[in-house]
């Protein structure tokens, strides 16, 4: 069942916008509603959109499953690395050593009502990014395997 030209063009237009919104939800996880899992699920929705709109042969020509598999492992390694970062500094496991340190994500939260400073909260944004990358890869590879098992053809 080949999708119509309207569906394929709409998927091409919507795909980058969905990915940008998902990355926004991931990176602003410590300021706004959402976080790593929600943002990763939003990005995986973009992968699902492309998988539904195009045939299996076209999608297999765009990306390989090994990319998503590596991405899932990379997310898990980043999360454990963010935990071990505390051990390396002599603090307990998962200690938030980057907060208020002036380094990456290290600014102090300004007092009073404010729109939210992105460069705060220490290792929590790093964990959000790790979970986002991991959920993106995991859900996308589930969809890829489901799609290749059906052969991408049928009625």
């Amino acid at each position: 069942m080949r999708m119509s030209k309207i569906v394929r063009t709409g998927a091409c237009i919507l795909y980058p916008l969905i990915i940008i919104f998902g990355l926004y939800v991931v990176v602003h996880g410590h300021l706004t509603p959402g976080g790593g899992f929600q943002g990763g699920a939003v990005i995986a929705t973009a992968a699902a959109l492309v998988l539904v709109a195009f045939s299996h042969r076209e999608v297999a020509g765009m990306v390989r499953k090994a990319v998503f598999s590596a991405q899932e492992s990379l997310g898990l390694l980043l999360f454990i690395g963010a935990g071990i970062l505390g051990l390396l500094a002599g603090a307990p496991f998962f200690a938030n050593i980057l907060a208020n340190s002036g380094l990456l994500f290290g600014l102090t939260v300004p007092p009073g009502p404010n729109p939210g400073e992105l460069n705060t909260a220490g290792v929590i944004p790093l964990m959000n990014i790790a979970v986002g990358v991991e959920v993106w890869g995991g859900l996308a590879i589930i969809l890829m395997y489901l799609f290749s098992a059906t052969g991408g053809e049928g009625t």
Binding site: M1, P33, Q38, A41, T45, A48, V52
Partner: protein, 84 residues
């Protein structure tokens, strides 16, 4: 008062789309009605001031589940009662 009307409209839409899922014989239309049900559930979560859950529901329920249903319908039959 406006909030109550919106909630009644959302719940009415939920019941209507659930009944439509039951009565559709075209499975693609039934899958899309289930996706619309999930979208209304996420709207209800947002009205009840749980935007975190609403984002999850919109992405997983309305996006991924509908896509998985559509992929499954592509591999089998589109109408209920057909043999693949």
């Amino acid at each position: 008062m406006i909030g109550l009307l919106i909630q009644v409209a959302v719940i009415g839409g939920l019941i209507a789309s659930a009944i439509l899922v039951f009565f559709f014989r075209d499975l693609l239309a039934a899958a899309l009605a289930a996706g619309f049900f999930s979208f209304l559930v996420s709207l209800e979560f947002y009205i009840l001031q749980a935007p975190d859950v609403a984002i999850s529901q919109a992405a997983i329920g309305a996006g991924l589940t509908t896509a998985i249903f559509i992929i499954a319908i592509r591999a089998t039959t589109r109408f209920e009662g057909e043999t693949p």
